[in-house]
């Protein structure tokens, strides 16, 4: 079999290609972006499938469902919080008569390396009542992605492949297999399987619930869910999931005994295997990356017969990532401590806006503009510009989720506060900022929107935005913002005073005003070069 060194994200992309996808859709978000980056990079080599960034995760998911409707296979990928955006089509699609294989790859970010929370997507899979696969090696990422497409077509459901940061962004050798051809166009004949009216949805929901037994049987029998019993040791047993297995195995050789061990890679949770483990031991330690999903299922509300340890009782930290070290301590092994340098305090080095970044000049102008007011609210959004919260700018006050800057500004202004400024990047505006701006215009809110338009999705590595900058102004115009209060500024140091004056005047205007600060991301030429070189 051919071998390649691949990131977990790239292994997933390769698995999808070899499964015969006809299309892949995504919205960039760390740690999932490299799935689509890889698909786009290798598309010319591996054949004619669509590999496209979309406006947001919801539109990406819906496009993938459309591919399935006509019988072809689709991959849709996103980060964990992206699934909140796509939750509506995702949860509902579990009811549909999925036809061509539909696989959702979602990458969680425990430890919040580049995210605003560390939610665990396994809860979403459970919520939708579908199957979730959680690989622990890059090789398994490839294999399980292929399996996910098979399962989707076998059970007529979307199937989730859950990655976490360290598997998504770690490289290892992956053995790839035969590539199978794409499905022919073959529209689904399930007439009532694609339309969720109460009458049809009730039937489809009942069917999905009926099929749960089959999903569970699949999980119970999956060779990925392995149970090894130690017939002579009863003090405790271990359940690992995802990367928990890696860190447990890293330490196991040092343990005096090898306790009974159940590894779970395939969900729903294989209850029978859990019960077989529980029969043998007095205590179960659950080692899982993310939330305490399995642990809480075992704990329930009534006192379980077996003591359950993990993140809920403090055996493992309840926030952040698993590491070889915290798993080591959970196994009762002596902690290791490396060398210590004495007498030197190591200063933190947080990320910051690049030298020459246009946002720097935009924030300088904004800070000058708001300085003239006694009070202000400045909401912001998700992207590089969120770093404007940190010194030296300290220009922004909020960051909630994609697009929230606009809606929050509208709310604050309608509550009676003035002045209110929302700052949002062009990518984020196109993702989720348009609809709240429609709201703001409809209600005649008194707010100013500053669109920091660098013509790229910068934070995630420079993906092309869905609309070119030249069309942003027309879009804002079309929404109904008064043309006299749509201003274009160029955020350069030499324009700062003038730009501050424009922002100040628009803050004083009673109504919705929009300022587009237009200058290319400083990284754009570098990213372009890298992409052209195929790096």
């Amino acid at each position: 079999m051919p071998e390649a060194v691949l990131l977990g994200d790239e292994a997933l992309a390769m698995g999808a290609i070899d499964s015969g996808i006809s299309a892949a859709y995504a919205y960039p978000g760390t740690p999932s972006s490299e799935i689509m980056e890889y698909l786009q990079a290798v598309a010319p080599k591996y054949g004619d499938f669509v590999a496209e960034w979309c406006s947001n995760e919801k539109t990406a998911y819906e496009a993938a469902v459309g591919v399935s409707l006509v019988g072809r296979r689709a991959l849709v990928s996103m980060k964990h919080v992206g699934l909140n955006v796509a939750a509506d089509p995702f949860i509902n699609s579990a009811l549909l008569a999925i036809h061509g294989g539909l696989v959702l790859a979602v990458a969680d970010d425990p430890g919040m390396h580049s995210s605003q929370n560390e939610q665990d997507s396994r809860f979403y899979a459970d919520f939708a009542r579908i199957i979730c696969l959680e690989p622990r090696t890059q090789g398994e990422v490839y294999e399980m992605t292929r399996e996910a497409f098979d399962l989707s077509e076998r059970f007529h459901i979307p199937v989730m492949v859950r990655l976490t940061t360290r598997i998504a962004h770690s490289r290892a050798v992956v053995q790839t297999g035969e590539r199978r051809p794409q499905n022919p166009l073959n529209k689904s004949t399930e007439k009532a399987g694609w339309l969720l009216l109460p009458s049809t949805a009730r039937k489809l929901w009942a069917e999905l619930l009926e099929n749960q037994g089959q999903f569970l049987a699949y999980a119970e029998n999956s060779p990925y869910n392995t149970l090894e019993l130690n017939e002579e040791f009863f003090e405790f047993g271990v359940i690992t999931a995802g990367l928990g297995w890696n860190y447990y195995m890293e330490n196991r050789d040092e343990m005096a005994v090898k306790p009974s061990h159940l590894h779970i890679s395939v969900y729903p949770i294989p209850g029978e295997k859990v019960r077989r483990l529980a029969e043998r031991v007095k205590r179960i330690v659950v080692i899982e990356e993310g939330f305490s999903f399995i642990e809480r299922a075992l704990l329930g509300i009534l006192v379980p017969a077996v003591k359950i340890s993990g993140k809920e009782d403090g055996t493992l930290p309840s926030t952040g990532e698993l590491t070889p070290d915290n798993v080591r301590e959970a196994m009762g092994l002596k902690p290791k401590q490396g060398i210590e340098a004495t007498g030197l305090e190591i200063p933190g080095r947080p990320p910051q806006l690049c030298a020459g970044c246009p946002h720097r000049d935009s924030y300088d102008a904004l800070n000058q503009a708001v300085a003239g007011f006694d009070q202000k609210v400045v909401t912001a959004d998700i992207g590089c510009y969120t770093l404007g919260y940190l010194p030296p700018y300290q220009a922004i006050e909020t960051c909630l989720c994609m697009g929230a800057s606009v809606g929050m500004a509208k709310g604050a202004s309608q509550a009676g506060f003035h002045p209110v400024v929302a700052t949002i990047g062009d990518g984020t505006f196109l993702h989720s900022g348009i609809t709240p701006l429609v709201d703001a215009v409809a209600s005649g809110s008194n707010m100013t929107l500053l669109i920091l338009d660098n013509s790229i999705t910068a934070m995630t590595g420079g993906q092309q935005t869905i609309l070119t900058s030249s069309r942003l102004e027309k879009l804002v115009h079309g929404i109904g913002v008064d043309p006299d209060h749509i201003k274009l500024i160029i955020p350069l140091k030499k324009h700062t005073a003038e730009n501050a004056e424009i922002i100040r005047r628009e803050m004083e205007y009673e109504g919705v005003s929009v300022i587009i600060a237009l200058r290319d991301c400083i990284q754009t030429p570098k990213e372009k070069k890298k992409k052209e070189a195929g790096e």
């Binding site: 580049s114 070889p324 490396g338 030197l344 200063p347 080095r349 947080p350 910051q352 806006l353």
Partner: protein, 193 residues
Amino acid sequence: MKYDVILAGVGGQGVLSLAAIITLGAMKDGLTVRQSEVHGMAQRGGAVQAHLRLSDQTIVSDLIGKASADMILSMEPIESLRYLAYLKADGVLVTSTDPVKNIPTYPEVEGIYATIRGLPSAQLIEAAALAQQAGSARSTNMVMVGAASAHLPVQEKSLLAAIDELFSRKGEKVVEINRKAFQIGWETAALAV
């Protein structure tokens, strides 16, 4: 055999390209490799690290545990000290002397060098100056790969082959400069050992 390296630096310094060369070289030697990287927000001028694990057997964990790294390889002196807890008692620290002062509270460099020299096993490499000698400031990373290679369980010829492979599309001159930078880095580190 198992050899664990923590790579450190500042976002934008090319820590990942350094990891890529060693990974490819190790694979040419038939070793198993696992390389964990940082993408996203941290790459914007913040502290970045990568975990690189080499072995002739299966590697299970993507991350290196504390007191387990055989080497800390850093593009920046203060960053080399950030991950000391991960270095084994007999591990080696190899770092560039060139500071990246993008924070207001950057300590006095002589103090940093003194701390590094006080470690059981450490090498300070004047990477930027040596890269100039090789013909281009842009070959700083390859000076550091060369310096690391004096300790790594990877053959010199495999690392050179990796350089050839990864730089070939940039032209013969770039390959030559990077090979030379590697050689200078290796000599500097090997002579000091």
